[in-house]
């Protein structure tokens, strides 16, 4: 456990060191830059904003983590996010309920949208034995253009000079207190539920073991195809939920490129987190710190915010590669100690 934390911390520090070298080469002051980065994202009053920004990262990250840990290679988070966002928007355009009912209703619609889209991939597997690795990627494209069409034609805001829908009903806006958006509460709840399912439920146990060794689990009586379907639907719902919250917490309408790069960042977060649920939360927040802070960094110092993308990629590379390397490193260290004992 300690070793696991060490690997992650060392990996992140090394990545920062490399980032510093890049800045030095270009003539920036790395200490100043890093100070501004964290000041902008972690100062009191800013941290609430950073937390709110972490919501789609953590949710899509958990979607990818649960899928990868259970076997299905669901890479459809971008498409599932968009479909979730679209369905929630449509609900918000045509239905108006009191907020206490409206918000859960739209969130359910968002999850439904995501699950619908991952469900298509699951059905393609069931009927034609097509790998979800391919189909989810392809479905991303379809979702991309389908939602683009939807906001250009049927749900287009009349007279807008930009592809977007009108605002959803006010009752569906996630309440905000200062910089703190209540979508964070939804994220924390989702995290609790997912952690419990994965680590405490019978289904989660079966998913984890099937992810590690599906033949063994099958022989042990686990219903592999049913679990596959459930995991696909659940992880689709998580990505859809992220999409719904992006609409409900942010612009309150579906605008072009609303999905941004959240879902791919989420997949990256799942990889750094080695598909662990808690680590996904930690890295999701950390990536949000970097992304929020990059704005401040660019404002105050002259360092372009694109540097943060470099930093993120380097963190992923070092932590993921380091995980394997550290294991061998510690093993060798132990062997050398034994050797010395034997000679003495």
């Amino acid at each position: 456990m300690k070793r696991k934390i060490l690997v992650n911390v060392v990996g992140v520090l090394l990545a920062f060191l490399l980032g510093a070298v890049v800045m030095l080469v270009q003539g920036y002051n790395p200490l100043e830059t890093y100070y501004r980065l964290f000041e902008y994202s972690l100062a009191p009053g800013k941290i609430a904003y950073t937390l709110s920004k972490s919501v789609p990262l953590v949710l899509t990250g958990m979607s990818a983590s649960v899928a990868f840990a259970s076997g299905p290679i669901n890479l459809g988070q971008p498409g599932q996010l968009l479909m979730g966002a679209l369905l929630a928007t449509i609900g918000g355009l045509y239905i108006d309920l009191p907020p206490l009912l409206m918000i859960p209703f739209l969130l359910i619609l968002a999850m439904l949208g995501g699950a619908l889209w991952s469900g298509v991939a699951a059905l393609l597997k069931y009927w034609f034995n097509m790998s979800e690795f391919i189909t989810t990627l392809m479905l991303n494209m379809i979702a991309d253009f389908f939602t683009y069409w939807a906001i250009n034609y049927p749900f287009f805001e009349a007279n807008a000079n930009h592809p977007q829908t009108p605002f959803i009903a006010k009752s569906g806006w996630m309440p905000e207190w200062g910089n703190f958006n209540s979508s964070v509460i939804v994220m924390v709840l989702a995290f609790g539920v997912i952690w419990f399912i994965v680590n405490r439920s019978t289904a989660g146990y079966e998913w984890r073991l099937s992810g590690q060794n599906s033949l063994f689990s099958r022989l042990g009586g686990v219903n592999i195809s049913k679990n596959y379907l459930v995991v696909m639907l659940l992880t689709g719902a998580l990505a859809g939920l992220a999409g719904g919250l992006v609409v409900m917490a942010g612009p309150h309408r579906f605008i072009k490129d609303i999905g941004g790069n959240y879902a791919w960042d989420g997949v990256m977060i799942a990889m750094v987190a080695n598909s662990g649920i808690i680590l996904t939360l930690v890295f999701g927040f950390f990536f949000s710190v970097l992304q929020t802070g990059s704005l401040g960094m660019e404002l105050i110092t002259a360092v372009p915010k694109e540097l943060i993308q470099v930093l993120q990629a380097v963190i992923v590379l070092i932590v993921v590669a380091g995980r394997g390397y550290f294991e061998t490193f510690f093993a060798k260290l132990e062997a050398r100690r034994k050797m010395r004992e034997r000679i003495a």
Partner: protein, 509 residues
Amino acid sequence: MADIIEMDRIVKIFPPSLVALDAVSVKFAKGEIHAIVGENGAGKSTLMKILYGMQPADSGEMVYNGKKVKFSDPGEAILAGIGMVHQEIMLIPQYTVWENVVLGYEPVKFGGRLDVKKARELVKQKIDEFGFNLNADAKVEDISVAARQKVEILKLLFRNVSVLIMDEPTSVLTPQEIPQLFGELKRLRDNGHTILFISHHLEEVLELSDRITVLRKGKKVGTIKTAEATKAGLAQMMVGREVIFDSIRKNQTAGAVLFQTTALNYTDPDKRPRLIDVNIQVRAGEIVGVAGVEGNGQLELVNLIMGLIEPTSGSIKAVGEDITRKPILEKRKRVAFVPQDRANMGASISANIAENVIMTHHRLDQRFTRWAGRILDFKQAASFTDEVRRKFDIQMSSGEAVFKSLSGGNQQKVILGRELLLEAPFILLDQPTRGLDVGSIEYVHQRIIDMRAQKRGILMISADLEELFRLTDRIVVMHKGRVVADLVTEKTNVTEVGYLMLEGAAYEA
């Protein structure tokens, strides 16, 4: 006799802390057959791999022909005259015998073209020189496993190797083929070759070798002359205590039929028949063995019983119910299963021990779940893991430890414990002792006998005839997908079963 090889205080540590060889010193004399015996994990193969340059030693020295040597890869060792025949045969099946033998060491004509005529002649000469019964022009895919092994040996002889290392050469052979191999090895020795022979079959070692070195847990126990050795004495040296080898069955009358396959047929997706009209019966309190050379339908039989594949026709009945096409969980209420492939079928090696132990139980036994089966009870899982640990004498730090941190024997005990505690009336064992050391084998055998005493029905597939004769009441022999004989163990013998395995037809004495 002069020593040709001297290995001095060889140490090998596999990270992080497995001491595979602990300052092992051993001398091999020129022109002897020197057996290296020991349980699994004793360090036999590691010692030979170091000699052959496949693995570096962490410390220690080697002297070969009076000179200090260190081989950094097998190529150097072969050049110096030391060759190794591995357990798995590594030849190109589409090539002929002579092509395989000369590969990488081809005689060439002017311009670097292969001198086909000369190459073929040279190989034929070698075959005659050593009296091997081989056809140089046969394709390797068409010849028997025993013949392929000869090709491997010939390959090394062609490179003028004077020291031959054989890693468990008999493990791929049938009982009938072993004497021939031994004859050839003895002839090579008389020719001045030195043969180092790794084995854990004591009978073979006693029959073949001149001297024997025993390793136990990475340490050398001693080197003795074969003429002065006894089987019991060697076994004791190997395990550090006495082992019994006789049949351990007690007389007991079998009960009702618990398991039955009726006219079972299976044709694989390539339209090849794999199982043909297989009828096998197992009664309560009876151990039925399935003998056969690997690849004669045993794998398909196991997969059919467990539901990984579906039969073309026929049925499988267990405990009075037709389970042919039942979901696996439904089968598991009646069938306990110990697979031969621990890492792929028997466990999830990266999960922890407790998670491995409760598999299947978590669905069949309500005490492991709450909320109508939806939530796992980890306290129950932990106490059950402890129960398995106590009942099956498993060496482990805790149930939280990852499964792959266990030794092979302990891994098998965890799997065995999980399956036997399922309380299923019928038990399917597929090579339950493969790759285990003598101590663990003994333990597993005792547990199997206990199950028989509890009136469970056991079907055991095994490639080890000694094991089958030790445990079973009946032996069915499989050959090319058919059951060619159903024999009462007490009324048959190893020669007859071995002959049936090979020929598929009745043996005529």
